[in-house]
Symmetry: D2
Subunit: 295 residues, 4 copies
Amino acid sequence: MDIQTVLLQMKDTAFNARRIGMAYQILNEMMTDTKCTKFLSLSGALIPAGMRSLLSEVISRGIFDVIVTTGATLTHDLIEALGYPHIRLQKSFSDIDLRKKGKSRILDATIEDQAFEKLENWLRSLLAKANDDGSLKGTISPTILLKELGLAISDQISVLSAAAKRNIPIFCPALTDSMLGLHVALLGQEIDLRIDPCVELREILDISFESKRTGALIVGGGVPKNYTLQAMLVSGRSLSYGVQVTMDRPEHGGLSGASLEEAISWGKVDPQAKIVTVVADATIALPLLLGSLLE
Amino acid sequence: MDIQTVLLQMKDTAFNARRIGMAYQILNEMMTDTKCTKFLSLSGALIPAGMRSLLSEVISRGIFDVIVTTGATLTHDLIEALGYPHIRLQKSFSDIDLRKKGKSRILDATIEDQAFEKLENWLRSLLAKANDDGSLKGTISPTILLKELGLAISDQISVLSAAAKRNIPIFCPALTDSMLGLHVALLGQEIDLRIDPCVELREILDISFESKRTGALIVGGGVPKNYTLQAMLVSGRSLSYGVQVTMDRPEHGGLSGASLEEAISWGKVDPQAKIVTVVADATIALPLLLGSLLE
Amino acid sequence: MDIQTVLLQMKDTAFNARRIGMAYQILNEMMTDTKCTKFLSLSGALIPAGMRSLLSEVISRGIFDVIVTTGATLTHDLIEALGYPHIRLQKSFSDIDLRKKGKSRILDATIEDQAFEKLENWLRSLLAKANDDGSLKGTISPTILLKELGLAISDQISVLSAAAKRNIPIFCPALTDSMLGLHVALLGQEIDLRIDPCVELREILDISFESKRTGALIVGGGVPKNYTLQAMLVSGRSLSYGVQVTMDRPEHGGLSGASLEEAISWGKVDPQAKIVTVVADATIALPLLLGSLLE
Amino acid sequence: MDIQTVLLQMKDTAFNARRIGMAYQILNEMMTDTKCTKFLSLSGALIPAGMRSLLSEVISRGIFDVIVTTGATLTHDLIEALGYPHIRLQKSFSDIDLRKKGKSRILDATIEDQAFEKLENWLRSLLAKANDDGSLKGTISPTILLKELGLAISDQISVLSAAAKRNIPIFCPALTDSMLGLHVALLGQEIDLRIDPCVELREILDISFESKRTGALIVGGGVPKNYTLQAMLVSGRSLSYGVQVTMDRPEHGGLSGASLEEAISWGKVDPQAKIVTVVADATIALPLLLGSLLE
């Protein structure tokens, strides 16, 4: 039984199976709407969880026009590109032992400390050179920096690389909240390079303003979700399509778990929009949804 | 892409995707262990959610030897067998309006009040007749009653019917906590029929005692989960295989969300057992897991 | 600052603080409504968590008229009455080690295996004697059994004892899903004693029928929640007051996390009822709510 | 009964009651450690939820040395300071109606659209003047901007004002992900003002480096949590005290729900640290914890 058939059957059930079926249908409609600018908001440790090749394939195929994500996701992408894959943990472990061995844990995946040293060296060399030749100099938008990084990577299954090749902008409004942003900040004391998040904000607003319609697949919450929805609010281009995949819930009032219905009151989502929230771990939902869309 | 391939790929990822991949592997091993008595513990409104044909197919194929479930699940199965399917709700509704229209809601599914009247009449007629001819008379185990109900149903995709045909016992330790149990209790004032949960308990203990090894797929928590694990504890046949699919979490101390590791301390699960908990809505996880097992 | 003041202030905030403030207000109103029969539905390992003296005090004070609970809660109450308190675990432990030491774990509390042996011996002796003198003989309602157990306990802070002394019935529709029920079932092979859950069901329905109004504090979900609400449905006495304290959520369709609004569609809750769901660990919410009510 | 007594009693129970009791104890120890730099990480809509006066009181009393928070929290603080309180919603509402009425919803609280117009005008006037007189000119750290805003507010119960008066730095690494940041970005096209998150990052690292010991109260997850822990990692000052209050869970691998134990593997938390995670809505936990600390 293929997953598309399963998703279509689920649409006629109830609870979250019905919701994931509806999500598939909405994403399908969004994909075929050529007047719709498609946003992909990514939070959560998707790359340590093994979703990297799926995400890069989706980006390579041009299904989305804009990516909004966290500095952590881009850091994870870079260190895998530099040859340091995340390793799955076996059942029994001790965080104190992991620390002694120089392995950092993300639930049941680990990464070696050496990966971050490699990242630092690679960035230092790349940015110094780009600063010298003027390609990355002065005050720039993070999107420019991220595109340069993507072009510098040879790894075929990188999110940054796939986006750079297709000229899909990556917005990362909290870049300094990551090891990637940290090294940029530290290098900024040595070379003439500053990132300006205000320029980046005006860029995403321009893209939204110029859109006839908008749609979004929102994976997890956090800054990427809010920043995507804020662009809709400010540009007046409320979402016509909205699919949210999250384990967060609304009852304690955080933005991450807030319903897409609530976003209607803000003007972030159109009252007539096709929307659904799937309460599921993205590592299960994305291979089904994106895997089916790719076929 | 077929779902078996997806599950096998998920096994090499992390978080809950890895867990559902492991669950598939463990269930596969359990299925091929001919010395293992296989328990299926079912909680949650799986039949209103549209899982009925999947569950009845799994039961018909003899994958499990014992079913432990709630009175609600059996009630849902019966009213669907009597011609009253659960209907999916559209987006906008009011519970007060539903009440006026005689429709009762389970999240996004509804059932008509008439279904329960039909159930009452059908049960009244069936049990009176069975009481007359002596097939259901005096003090009996709920398992006897449930088998008779299963044999009386002609509907091919019924859980009760599938179990009765294959002679798979259904244990329902809280039968009076359901409309099915209610009608049995009310009829017990008119005819000579009583259910004895102590006899039922001794039956499941006997099955456990006589098992060489045991395994369980535990869907949701509640009484079915605890009753299944209690049988392992008392019989000394701690689970060798255990897969738990639930959205409940351990942090507030309830049995429903308790880890299978905790059950090792009780002797309910073997220290060497192959176990995994998948944090996912069963309506998404079961079609993947059971659908793959059926192939 | 006293907790009553804090709860009253919380009523004017938002999210779950507002909800717990509303819960306090609703419970206060319910308490002063002399025409209202008050149900207390208890699920979750409240006694291992240290809520025993709070619960027994609430029961002693006659705040509730009816208790519906799990066999596990009553088992926990009995073993504490027999001198085996639940011991809090320190941070680091291994479930396999606990098993070797004969300690069973409930999240971060443990109980010794000896407690269950003591329980068995105590029950065996008590029930044999009661059977001999005719006080517990033949087919009885679980409520009769539970009252006898309560009267036999000398411990002042026991839930069973407090309820028995005030003649408050305890309903336990899944008694065989517990060590207490297990020993009753095993003794039933030696002495003339059977429990009949159908009699028990008719008892709670009678109490509901005879009520002018009903109200409930529902702690956790499971069978106690459903059984309480079922009594309202069948008796036509939909709740006028309803407070639910739970960490379960509605999105996956289980009864435990179902909203009280959904219960309106069933006729279990009155459309005009004062209702609120507090999403909080009961071990935090109950000392605040019940502690304030006791003052 | 006062809340301190309740928290001390809870320490001897189990589950989350025990955890909140431990949290109180750890925060108390942290408060009296004069060599410890204390971080307060704030996520979630705490001000719409009514926690503003509690938070500003805690800041005024100097309990924490550093605040890390979201742009939304600072925006909420400003619009309340400008005379637009968040209003609690009554039970029944429609998001489409709210949109028509110009009210935006955060679960059960709303804010009028006019508040954001007022904010824009106030910021425009303030920043233009500060730009003219040179107090806010060129490329600055967000912390400088936020202090100026705090000093400009006359409202006594403002978080920004309280922090500015005591010279407690506020870090907001995703400032452009908020209406406050948006207006700064748009004004940056008219006046000579840019914010530099890299300068801000170096500032928090300097504070961490200069600390003998560090401790943190982490409310909710998101960027504030990660940014706080990242500062510990990079500076080598792993937390000696850590209290986390959240409804997020670890099972799906997101940073927001990650355990403090996991942070040990990264070197963000000391292996000997006193740590606890309280799974509770912050609107319930903070009035108890912070209210007790204030006494």
